[in-house]
């Protein structure tokens, strides 16, 4: 798994480190960023499959920026972490009808194993989709170019 397929935004180094380690044990590499601008750049540059937004310890402005950022994702699954009172505000208006392909909120207590299983689940469903889509495209191309 390419590291750029999963991006973690968190201001908490400890939670970032633990999440990365647990993901790594599940065979998933990840990139981490700790500033909103860096997160935006990393997402644009890498077009990841999953973005994990940890709202723990970030400012209200940063939370608003994250919420706005979420609305532009069409091909990216979003996992929001943090205090229930904050992550709940990401639910309905962010993930429904705004074009985000997939999203979920995991309120504290911080559960790295659950995060890893969610990421794994998302990636495997995406891989299945890609395989179906990829196989079709490749066979179409081969047929078209008479390579079979």
């Amino acid at each position: 798994m390419n590291a750029s397929h999963v991006i973690i935004f968190s201001a908490d180094r400890l939670r970032t480190g633990i999440t990365q380690k647990v993901l790594k044990r599940a065979g998933i590499e990840s990139l981490s960023v700790n500033r909103i601008l860096a997160a935006r750049e990393a997402i644009v540059d890498n077009v990841p499959r999953v973005v994990i937004f940890d709202t723990k310890g970030i400012s209200r402005d940063e939370i608003n920026s994250l919420r706005n950022l979420c609305r532009f994702f069409r091909e990216i699954a979003v996992i929001v972490l943090g205090d229930r009172s904050i992550v709940d505000t990401f639910g309905v208006d962010t993930f429904e009808g705004e074009g985000v392909q997939e999203g979920c909120c995991l309120a504290d207590p911080f559960d790295p194993e659950l995060i890893a299983s969610k990421v794994k689940e998302i990636l495997s469903s995406k891989a299945k989709e890609k395989r179906l889509h990829g196989d079709g495209l490749e066979s179409d191309l081969k047929q078209f170019l008479k390579l079979d």
């Binding site: 390419n2 400890l14 380690k21 647990v22 504290d108 911080f110 191309l141 078209f144």
Partner: protein, 394 residues
């Protein structure tokens, strides 16, 4: 035709993508191998036995080769180095004693290989020798570190620590060698700056030619003893001046703090209660105390009482700290508690701790209470393992 060219280009792109993915996979495999090797080496070191050497008067300091672990404790300074089949530790008492300068005293000190330096018209006798002098003058040695951090009462504290460290290690063979030294956690109560303590020691070690990094004392215990538990558990260092506590999850120090009550507290409280010198109490504690046996005299009775008191206070603090934080991740299985340090050494301390623990409900389930294999050297060994890990990453 244009359509066919487009298709060909897309095929080429697909192939390129595949090859770039293959390169990335190859790189990842190589990184994984390096990480595995690194962890294997650290784990291998944690399985090695410790060979302990008391610093002998007149013996030269070690010229270090390879990463170094350094335990800067209230009562001892211990250096750990990785050898082929064992971990070598060298210990020096972290204490000093002053006498007025005189030519006669100087010649006596030099003749007897006593470690000392001159400052402000005084001879500073340092390390193991300072205890002999204190006994000779029927008084106590002075300490450069009080309750785990640089003593504000002793202005020469850092000079003394420098001299003691230089008596056990010299400049490294290779400039910039990684040295990991221990620091306490922030005190739960009381004052004292760990930041100042850490920075001062770091600066000094840097000037000696090392690349110094620090590790929390409790975390060092986890690094040394909990490799089989994925470095997840609670390390408690019960030292002279303080207890250091760390809850580690997969080698990340999630909670760290220090509790300024430990061996010295027991010695002085027992001393006050039975009207004896704390030094005498310490000797009895180290040589005779068995907490599993019924006490047979008033000093041993008092030692039982204050051990019980220390353990209860420590567990109260642990419950308070763990219950008031939102930092603890969900941990799927119970974790062990490892006790280490000189104060945890008397027979029965572990059992007393485990029995008292049954009366507490912690937010983390505890699987067992264990005593470190070599309680006096665990912290230095853990620091060495961290130094080895960091050196390889660097």
């Amino acid at each position: 035709m244009a359509g066919k060219d487009d298709m060909k280009e897309r095929m080429v792109e697909l192939k390129k993508q595949e090859s770039s993915d293959a390169d990335a996979q190859k790189r990842k495999r190589s990184d994984d191998k390096r990480d595995e090797k690194l962890m294997a080496k650290a784990e291998e070191a944690s399985q090695k036995p410790v060979v302990d050497t008391e610093k002998e008067a007149g013996s030269p300091a070690i010229r270090t080769e390879g990463p170094v672990g350094l335990d800067v404790g209230t009562s001892h300074i211990i250096v750990a180095q990785n050898e082929k089949n064992y971990i070598n530790t060298v210990k020096q008492l972290n204490a000093f004693f002053t006498i007025p300068i005189s030519k006669f005293a100087k010649s006596i000190l030099a003749k007897n290989d006593v470690l000392f330096f001159e400052q402000d018209n005084l001879f500073y006798i340092i390390g193991n020798s300072s205890e002999d002098f204190a006994n000779m003058f029927n008084t106590d040695t002075k300490r450069s570190i009080k309750k785990g951090i640089l003593s504000a009462d002793e202005q020469e504290g850092i000079t003394v620590i420098q001299a003691i460290v230089q008596s056990v290690i010299r400049k490294p063979k290779q400039f910039g060698e990684t040295l990991c030294f221990t620091i306490p956690g922030d005190p739960l109560e009381g004052t004292g700056s760990v930041v100042y303590h850490e920075s001062i020691i770091k600066r000094f070690l840097g000037t000696m030619g090392y690349f110094p990094i620090s590790i929390n004392e409790g975390m060092a215990i986890v690094m040394s003893e909990l490799s089989d538990d994925d470095y997840t558990g609670i390390g408690i260092s019960m030292g002279g001046g303080m207890c250091n506590i760390c809850l580690s999850y997969l080698s990340f120090p999630v909670i760290t703090y220090s509790f300024q009550m430990a061996g010295d507290y027991i010695d002085s409280m027992v001393g006050i209660s039975v009207g004896e010198h704390a030094t005498k109490i310490r000797t009895i504690k180290e040589e005779e105390l068995d907490l599993l046996k019924e006490p047979k005299d008033r000093i041993i009775t008092a030692l039982h009482i204050f051990y019980d008191n220390l353990i209860k206070n420590l567990l109260d603090s642990l419950q308070r700290v763990l219950s008031s934080t939102d930092k603890i991740p969900m941990i799927s299985k119970p974790v062990p508690i490892v006790l280490s340090g000189g104060t945890a050494m008397p027979n029965g301390c572990k059992e007393m701790f485990a029995k008292a623990l049954k009366n507490y409900k912690l937010p983390v389930e505890i699987s067992s209470v264990i005593l470190a294999e070599d309680p006096l050297n665990t912290t230095a060994k853990g620091a060495l393992i961290m130094a080895m890990t960091e050196a390889q990453q660097g």
